[in-house]
Symmetry: C2
Subunit: 396 residues, 2 copies
């Protein structure tokens, strides 16, 4: 425990000996009882694939739930094997001595219900037919994802969440945890998110869905696991990927540079600009790891997310929240722009909650929440460890 005292929250830079969580193994939680979705549809049970890093403490109150975005999964830190070329998607934030310090916190991350990385979703086998559910899978909403993850946390013996943290759809998930389980959720960190998508964001998701559903290989959602609407899914991903970056960031990264093989004024429809081959690669690699029906379900859940709608206003939706909140917007995020993040914090404040808003200047667009940035790390670390530090101060 000495380390914790040596690195109080007042020290804004990441800890000097920050390391990785090492080799990790995903596990499956099989929920053995029926689960009812917001739509009224049910499943006889479900599986969530998840990972944990660090140890649950004796009082079972040091858990940090990490929530992933549309195309993310449960593997947010460490490697599955020494030979893995890349670590989990938030490895820069999570680990011993990092902003989410696994020496202090018990970190849990699960693939969402409706996903395709091991959790039950449309590509799972429907026990009634022996075939994948396809679009007979129940409609999933962000509250459904939250309820399923709460059952996992109960199973793990977590008595309360020290914090829930997520970016993009992960921020919606965090927000919904704080609303649905207010006594359980002590802190939330919402990054690059929104309390309701704009028409433009819905429009982009709809084009992606149409690219999938208009692909003849979609076949009304019935396709073999290794087949399906690969063309449509790749197009959806290429387009969405543009919305995760920024104009300035793309100009910095690619500009109008041409591929070496493209020649000066090549007259061809092959990829000529570097940005073209980059996007083609993004589309192709995505279809090898993501299920097209999951893409439909999860984008629909994101589009439908709108806690203010039923409550009458966002302030009213936030009325039950007990968590302290940190909301982080990024200047170059045009998918869920800073204003929409600021509005979350303002609505929490108007509802009488403790909430802070921070805005970071970046050119990485929506994906900025994955940024390697000491500024972001220290914000997260300071927020997660503040109260613990108070305890130490008090003890002294």
């Amino acid at each position: 425990m000495t380390d914790e005292v040596q690195a109080p929250a007042q020290e804004p830079t990441p800890r000097p000996h920050a390391g990785d969580v090492g080799i990790v193994a995903p596990r499956d939680y099989v929920h053995p009882a029926p689960f009812t979705f917001r739509s009224g549809q049910t499943l006889p049970g479900f599986t969530l694939r998840y990972e944990t890093y660090g140890e649950l403490n004796a009082t079972r109150d040091n858990a940090v739930l990490v929530c992933h975005a549309l195309s993310g999964d449960h593997h947010c830190a460490g490697r599955h094997a020494e030979s893995d070329p890349k670590p989990g998607w938030w490895n820069n934030l999570i680990g011993p001595g990092k902003a989410v310090d696994t020496r202090r916190f018990y970190v849990v991350c699960a693939n969402v219900l409706g996903g395709c990385q091991g959790s039950t979703g449309p590509s799972s086998t429907n026990p009634a037919t022996g075939h994948p559910y396809g679009i007979r899978f129940p409609f999933v909403t962000v509250p459904d994802m939250v309820n399923a993850q709460k059952l996992l946390l109960d199973h793990l013996g977590v008595s309360e969440l020290h914090a829930v943290i997520g970016g993009s759809m992960g921020g919606m998930t965090a927000m919904m945890f704080a609303i649905e389980y207010p006594l359980f959720t002590k802190r939330q960190i919402i990054m690059a998110s929104t309390a309701r998508e704009s028409a433009q964001a819905i429009a982009f998701n709809e084009v992606g869905r149409q690219a999938i559903m208009q692909d003849p290989a979609w076949n009304n959602g019935d396709y073999p696991r290794e087949g399906g609407p690969r063309v449509g899914l790749a197009i959806a991903r290429m387009m969405a990927h543009i919305t995760y970056l920024s104009d300035a960031g793309m100009d910095r990264k690619f500009g109008r540079r041409k591929r070496e093989s493209a020649g000066g004024e090549a007259y061809t429809f092959d990829a000529q600009f570097e940005v073209e081959s980059y996007l083609r690669h993004q589309g192709q690699s995505f279809i090898n790891r993501f299920d097209a029906n999951s893409y439909l379900y999860i984008t629909r859940a994101i589009d439908q997310f709108d806690p203010a709608r039923a409550a009458g206003s966002l302030e009213q939706a936030f009325a039950p929240v007990q968590a302290e909140s940190l909301v982080v917007g990024f200047t170059s995020d045009w998918l869920f722009p800073p204003e929409q993040n600021r509005d979350i914090a303002l609505a929490l404040l108007r509802a009488g909650k403790r909430a802070s808003y921070a805005e970071l200047s970046t050119d990485l667009g929506h994906d900025s929440f994955l940024l390697e940035s000491d500024e972001l790390y220290s914000l997260v670390q300071g927020f997660l460890e503040r109260n613990e530090t108070y305890v130490f101060d008090f003890a002294i």
Copy 2:
């Protein structure tokens, strides 16, 4: 000529009796000689479909060439029949007593070479095979479009252009007219355009091209005129259409309103939000009027457009320009944003040319150049008529 004296440029509002050009008929110019493209490829001849409004004067110097954008055509004003539900695409700007006054100017507008609305393009019959050219059509660049239109203007007996005017790709065409035919081009109006697309704009075009080319019905560009990659083309159009609007404009127009038939919390992948059905309609109506191969060729021409590249800088590219220039940017245009329009005017000024930049506040995004706006009309009218008014002043 009396009308002209009664409505001098100092009067900033549109003329009170502004009317339409009425029923118009497109014509075909058949260029009878071989045409060489920038790529070095040739055609034995070509056809440009065009319309004219107003009369060429005795000195043959009152022509205004109107240049269309990616999906536009030669039909920019009036109707082809009384029963036409909609007039030409720039009817609000062009007509007797309007900003581009057809009582004063001889307005010419042609479908670009490579297009699909009557001008020779990839859907035209290749005389060598009896089938459409497909992607055996020569690669088209903006300079090729300009050279073909110059041949049309020569044919029409135009001795000089009073002005060339266009938005988006039409602005690129105007810019290239002023560069390629400096003595011929007396004025240029460039709206919502750019001297070189950013990586993001190239990326969106590339996703559209991939949606078309990955559609099995594209068949390497060989498809029957009534068939082809309709799915891919519709997806390309839906996505592109988002980039022509703005986030704020879409929120004003659609917000998160649901379709009446969609119900409150309908769980379906059918269109639920109004913006979804609007986009689906845009995609479907486009495939009935546009050729997928033309979409590939014209987007490629737009992506390749970069006059500064060969010249070394935009100032050097503009060195030959003799035209007076008006560049108009629109605050909510994020495809070809105001800065990129401002940069055109600045480069003209740095090159020692007469150039003005105006920026209009709108929420209509890139499509703002089609805006119904007295502010825009008076800018255009003032710029087109200024020198003529000087002549009258001098005569008095």
